[in-house]
Structure formats: C-alpha cells, structure tokens
C-alpha cells in the first residue's frame, strides 16, 4: 500500500461519508414509499444505481486527487455551457421550465446541475496558489465572466430558482476568498433593491406569481398554493412520531406534487414525524460541520474555496427546499441534496462529495 493510499484511508472523513450514505438511504426509503404504489420499484432502483455510480466516482476523485482534476474545470464548464446552449436551441422535455434535456438513449439530464458544480470549481481553480489577503475585483474578473454567462443561460430557461441559488454561492466564495465583506453587503442590498423593483416587469407572470403567491397560502385556486397546501397537510399530519413508514396517505395517493423529487422531505415528514425531521436535520448539520471543518484544514486556496462553495450550495439547497415545503420560501425547483430523486442531481452531489473528501485527504 503506497503512502498516498495509507494517508487517504487515515485522513478520509468517515463521519462525512457515513452521514452522506445515511441521508441517501433515507432518501431511497422515502422514494420507495412515495412511488411504490404507482411505479413499483422503478425509481428506487434507478436512484440506488445513481448513488452507487456516484460513490464510485467520488472514490475515483479521492484516489486521483482533486488537484489533478481542478485544471479540467474549464472542460466541465464549457461542456455544461454547451449542453445549456443545446437545450436552448433544441428545447427540453416538458414543463414550463426548459430544465431537462434528452439526448439519444441517455437518461434525461439536467445541465444546470452540472453548471452549478462547474462554476464552484471555476472560482476555486482561479484562486489556486493565491494569497487571499486583499482581493480586488480585477483579481476574479474571469470567474465573474463565466458566472454571468452561466447565469444568463439558466435565466433564459427560465429556471429562476437555480439562478437565484448561483448568486449566493458565488458571493459566499468571494466572501471566503477575503473580499471586503462591507462591499459584499453593499452589493447584496443594492441587488435586492433592484430585484424588488424590477421583478414584476422582468419576470414571467408565473414566476412572479410564485414569488408573491406563496404569501397567499390560503387560496387553493392557484397551482402553487395547491401544492403548498398539500405539502403542509402531509407534514402537519405527521405529528411528533409520524404516521409510520409506508403509512402516509398524502404522497401515496398522489396529493403531493413532485413527491419523489422536490417534495421528498414532505413525504419523509409525514411518515417519520417531527422526530424524524429532527434526526434528518441533525444529519445535514453534521454534514455541514464536517464539510466546513475540512475547508479550514484545506492545503490551498483552491481546496478551501471548492469546499466552501460546495458546502454553501448544499446548505442553501437544503434550506430553500425545506423552507419551501413548509411555506416559508417560494416554491422553486430546488432539489434536496442526496435525497431527491434524479440522476443529474445525485451524480453532481456525489462528485461534490468526492471533491470535499479529497480536500480532506490532502489536508496539511
């Protein structure tokens, strides 16, 4: 066994890995509960396959070392951009949002999932070997350019949720990179104000409806209001102990929309109750804690920024997804990391995990 391999086994964050696997298993169980009546084991089998492939890729990244992979970030970036362009020209599969792409016999893929990851790596790679003491805007003009290209294409879909997710991840990375936080705060406030006053004219009606509509939860005449109500009914009826595994009715009887993807947490909350939610939240907090711990010990700026980017992305996805199913945030198509059904989502999540683990293995 070579020195590197021994180091890898020793330094590998087993807690992080275990947490991930636990969350993924909970996800598979919930997907089964939500879909077995209508689709038998189809979704469960697919999801398990994605997770296994994803973990294998993650292991590959740990073995190869993330620092050898980072230079290829532009390949991934332009690949994602290419897919998004192709999607823009050809048109996607169903839905109001052109989010899904079907090529040849491959499973449906979601290019924006890959782009999220590519942008994180792009920023991280840009700052490789740099001293982060006093970062100026001109220091990261290139990642800003890439960021806006990607953002523009995703807004064109128009996938408002993903676009709004990219911005804070990017800001968080710049924040960690050492850019003056007062200026960052200023940019956030300015951006919010501009967004607030231009939202109605710039956004498509249904998007605006979603943004403001979630405040009118009592009404069931609107699509999102109806989805939200069903989601709250599912969560609320779970109570403290839950209705028991496979005993939930909301998801099984198809009252819950997107039950195995965006609303998987509601399925879980119905059957496992508040106690289950408490446990699952703990798992995500542990994941974040371990992730950020690795960031602190990173052996270089690129590792630090890659891991903080990934952690921010997952934390935000978790918060937005959980927030939307309980009616605190507008309903957008944001998946729950490691739990929501979806090949692109799970694969990207696992690749991210691989990078984080690899940074941990190569720590100083």
């Amino acid at each position: 066994m070579s020195r590197l391999e021994r180091q890898a086994v020793w330094n590998l964050d087993w807690i992080l890995l275990t947490t991930t696997v636990l969350i993924a298993i909970i996800g598979i169980m919930s997907i089964y509960s939500a879909t077995y009546l209508t689709s038998h084991r189809h979704f469960v089998e697919r999801q398990s396959l994605y997770i296994i492939i994803g973990i294998m890729i993650a292991a590959g990244i740990v073995i190869v070392d993330y620092r050898r992979i980072l230079p290829y970030q532009s390949l991934l970036f332009w690949f994602s951009i290419g897919l998004l362009l192709y999607l823009e020209i050809k048109g996607g599969v169903g839905g109001k949002v052109d989010r899904y792409l079907k090529i040849w016999i491959l499973p449906t893929i979601t290019p924006s999932e890959f782009l999220k990851f590519a942008l994180i790596l792009r920023v991280a790679h840009h700052f490789r070997g740099r001293q982060l003491a006093d970062v100026k805007v001109r220091d990261f003009l290139s990642p800003i350019a890439g960021f806006f290209v990607g953002l523009g294409l995703i807004l064109k879909q128009p996938d408002l949720g993903t676009a709004l997710l990219l911005v804070p991840v990017f800001i968080a990375q710049i924040f960690i990179a050492g850019y003056d936080y007062k200026k960052i705060l200023g940019i956030i406030i300015l951006g919010s104000l501009v967004g607030f006053f231009t939202a109605q004219s710039v956004l498509k009606p249904y998007q605006y409806e979603r943004l403001v509509g979630f405040t009118r939860q009592g009404e069931n005449s609107q699509e999102t209001g109806w989805q939200l109500r069903q989601s709250k009914v599912a969560i609320g009826s779970g109570g403290f102990w839950g209705r028991g595994y496979l005993n939930g009715t909301q998801a099984k009887l198809e009252f819950l929309p997107a039950k195995h993807t965006d609303f998987i947490l509601a399925v879980f909350a119905e059957e496992w109750g508040f106690i289950g939610i408490f446990g699952l939240f703990s798992l995500y907090i542990v994941w974040l804690w371990r992730g950020l711990k690795i960031a602190r010990m990173a052996s270089g700026a690129s590792g630090l920024l890659a891991v903080t980017g990934v952690c921010t992305l997952f934390a935000l996805q978790f918060i937005i997804n959980a927030g939307m199913i309980v009616g605190l945030l507008p309903i957008t198509g944001i998946t729950l990391p490691f739990m929501s059904y979806g090949g692109s989502s799970i694969l990207t999540n696992m690749i991210c995990l691989g990078v984080v683990l690899s940074v941990g293995v190569c720590r100083t």
């Binding site: 005449s221 709250k232 009887l253 909350a269 927030g323 190569c362």
Partner: protein
Amino acid sequence: MPIPEYGWNQEVADLIGASRRITGLFAFFALSALLIAMRFWFLQIVNQQYYLTLAETNRSRLLREPAFRGEICDRHGRILVNNQASYDLTLVLEDLGGVPLDEVLHRLCTLVNLDIEFARQKIKEVGYRVFQPVTIKRHLTFGELATIEAHKHELPGVDLSLRPRRAYRLQSLAANTLGYIGAITSNELKTLKEEGYYFDDLIGKMGLEKNLDQFLRGERGEKYVEVNAHGRVLKELYHPQAHPPVPGYRVYTTLDMELQQYIEGLMTQHAGVVIAQDPRNGEILALVNSPAFDPNIFSSGGGAALIQEISRNPHRPLRNRAIQDAYPPGSMFKIVMATAGLETDTIKERSGFSCSGTFFLGSHAFRCWKSGGHGTVSIHDAIRISCNVFFYNLGQRLGVNTIADYAQQFGFGRLTGIQLPYEFTGRVPDPRYLEERRKRLGFDWFPGDTVSLSIGQGEIAITPLQALNIATTIAGNGRRYVPRLVSKYIPPNKGEPIVVESTIDADLHLKPETITIIKKAMWAVVNDGGTATRVAVPGLNIAGKTGTAQVASQSKRNIPDDQLPERLRDHAWFVSFAPVDDPKLALIVLLNHGGKVGARKKLELAKEIYTFYLGRVDQSTPQLSGAAL
C-alpha cells in the same frame, strides 16, 4: 506522480480570517435550519390535529349514489316510465389541482355541447362541498363520451359517472299525466332541504313525477371511499353510516295503456282533452291532452331548442289542460240545472215551459238556439234538444245562490283532489265570489247574469276533469268518487304493496225520480233524436250531453266558423257515460276551438272510444288490485 504545489500556508489563511468567516457561514446556515425546524414544530406539533383532519378529508370521500327512481306502470303493470343507463359529466372542484375552473369549462365547451350557464350555476351551489361531484351535464351521447374519455388528461376534476336516466318508454303517451323530472333548482332546494333533498338531485317537475316524488325518488346511498389526488376511487372504506341506495316505489297507475293509446290516436288531428274514468270507483283510465309532448326531451342533451319550440306552441302542450284550464261548461250545465230544479221541487217531470225562441227579461231578449222556438217543452225534452228558454225560466226561479250551491255539489269551484300538481279550482258564482265581484266591479249581480249562468255561460268556468263530474255524479246515482290516478305502490325490497282505496268525493243523496228523469233525458240526447245522435251505438246505451263554451264576444257569434279565426271559434264539449243502466265508463271530450257545427261531427270520436272500450270490456273489474298482480 508529482502533486502540483501551491504557494499557500496555514498562517496566511489564519491571517485573512478565513476560519472566522467559515464559522460565520456555518452559524448563518445553522440558524436558518433552526428557524425551519421551528416551523416544522409549529406544523407537526402545534397544528397536527388540523392537518391530520385535512389529510383524512383529502383521502376519504363521501360518495352519494343516486337511487333508481321508481318505475311507473299502467293498471296492468305495463311499464310506462323506467330508467336506462346513461353517463353524466361531473366535476369535483377539489380535484382541479390548481387549474382555474374557467379554463376547464372552456376546454369542455370546445369538446361537448355544454350549457355553461347551467354548469356555473350548479358549481356556485356547491359551496363548501368542494369534494362532492357536481353534475354539469347529463346524458352524454356516445360521441361525447368518447371525446371526453380521449381528452380526460386535459380535464382535471372532470369525471364520467354512470347514472340512471329517466326513460318515457312510449314517448308522448300520457305525457302531461306522467310529467317529467329535472335538476332541482335552488328555490326548490330551499324548501325541500329538510326532506333530504340534495343540490345535485333530480326532482319531479310535472305530473305524477312531481306529486309522487316522495314515493318515486327512493333513498340515496352513501359510501366512503379512498380516492387519490385525481379523484379516482381506489377502494371502499368502512364507515358506520355507509349504506346502499334504496330504489323508489314502483307505482301502478289506474291508466289503461291501450285505451290511452287508442284515444291519443283519435286525437292526433284535434286540440283538446279527453278523460275516461270508471264511475264505479273514480279511477282515471285515460287522460289525454292534445297536442302532447315527449318528456324525454327534458332528459336528453340538447333538448333546450325543442323545449323552446314546444313552449311557443299556441296550444301550450306543456300544460295539463285537463286540470289547469277552465272553460264555461255551456249546455252541459243544464244537467246541473235540471238536478237543482228537480231536487228543490221547482219543477216536476210533467211541468213545462213554453219556448218561443226568445226569452225576455225586462226589455232584454235572450235567445234560444232555435230561433223559431221549441213550443212547450218538458224537462226531458229540454235536456234532449237542449232548449235554452226552458233553463232561462228555471234559472230565474232557482236564483243564483241555489244554482251556485248545486254547481258546488257537482264539485265545481274547488279542487277535485286528483294527484296532479297545479290543479285549478275553476270559478263558481257563490256568495263569496259575488261579494268579491261587487267590490271589484262596483255594481251588483244582475238577474241577466243569472240567465247566462242558467245555460252554463258567463261567470262560470270548470276544468275538463270537473266537467266529468256531471257524468260520474249522474252515473253513480248521486254518489261520485275522487278521481284517482294511482292504484297501488309496490315498495322496494319485496315489501307489502300499498293499495290505494277509492274515496267518496260527494254523495248528493238524489231522489230516485231525479236520477231516472235525467238518465232518460241524457240517453235520449244520444239515442232519441237529441243533439248527439251521431254518437249512438246500438246496444251500448250511451247517455250524454253536449255543450259549447263560447269564446268570441256576442257580436261575433253569428259569424260562421269557417270565417272566424281558429282561436275565436267555440270549444265543443261532450260529457257522457255508458251503459246507462250499469255505467262502466264516463267520458269527457273537449275539443278546443272545435266550432259550433263542425264539432258535432268531430264528437263522433266518443262513439269510437265507447265501442273500443266496452267492446273489449269486462276484463276490467271495479277493484283492480287483484287483476293487476
């Protein structure tokens, strides 16, 4: 393999405070997670019961199953009205799944012929019952059924339900008597809610369907089912209140289908009313309104245009004119006058009045129909040849109050009590009416008014069913029965049949001489050179009396019928019974705007009815309960 080295050390990282910033990020995320966890607490623990109830209402649904409406048969159990399988279009508001209602309705409109106003009205009545299917269109055609099936995925909340549809097997046969059904209106619902009616129900609107609704409608079933979000029923759930629907009672009417059909056949060319009754028990054997309508149009899709067309018909086929419209009885009233005169001993069999063709009251002249006069006539001849002057004289002796009293004894001016809705009382100049009339007109009843009344014109009006009382009262020797349409009700589930007994409407306790005189005279009307000799059938011994209800004003009375517009021609009456010594059938024939002379010829259809019925007879016993089973 060399790992690329970056110019980096831990000190620099510490220096720039990356660690502190990371802690800041973690704190921000952890706080957000805590906030969301609190929200979960609020939903799952504070409000658990509320959402649990919602989840249950989501999943379980009370489904109302319509009962099979009872069948209606004729006296021998031949089916007149029953139910057929049919598909209705229903909508469950809760299953719209966020799609606006208007959009779904518009999509439906492009697919099928939908009365969108009716649908909107019904949906408005849904109120809080958002889980309940509401019927927005009934009785889809096969084409519509296929179209809806094919587009069902675009129509959230829309469903097809198999329901019984009312079928009037013989189309327009006895349509006004049987009636029809329709969707309950919000006004009807207001008064009937207490009796268990429901906003999506069908209810009888006319005829027996309306009056016997309580018997016919049966009891709606209720079952609890588990449904998915698309409203598809997955399985039935246990519920203590669940119960299957109970069909309505089967109603045996007193109608004789063959007789009804036969008379309707005779009446196709005429507008009018014919009622055939068994004078021995009051059973209505046939009740014909002509022109009629087909009640099936009310339960078929796209009937609106047909209904419009029917309601524009000047003869108003939707009205049951046998009970809803009243006309002056004309000379038929002479039977009532004769009864009054004989019973009050105002006249005797041998007393006579001289008819010179004109009767003078003061300076005012009232004419007999025969301008030369009849000479001295007895009561027998006065009825036989329908002498007006005789009855003018009799009327003056009796006075308006006695005449009105006897008119009431014959059942005029009040409801006959038949089980049909919207019956009209008609009008009799009784003291109360006279009082009311004085107040309205400001002057008194004149003796001249009594003169007109004596021959059944002027201020008296009776419905054809009341007119039939003239025959049944005399045929029954003064005793007559309430006209009756139902012979028995057969409960569902093999219960004991409820047999309807005949009830006596009135017994006038007439003197035997009175009955003999009038029967003889009425026999002579048909068989001994009277006014209806055309109707005579050897051996049947029909007794009757003709009458003319005046329509046009006095000034136009001398214009021949063929120069008068149809709506101004007189109505022709013929009331009769046979055989005279053992009456088995009483008949009233009214030919609307039949005219003065032509009508006499048309009244021959009475002869055909008697020949048909009495020729075939003796299969109909007075108490039919045994025969019908």
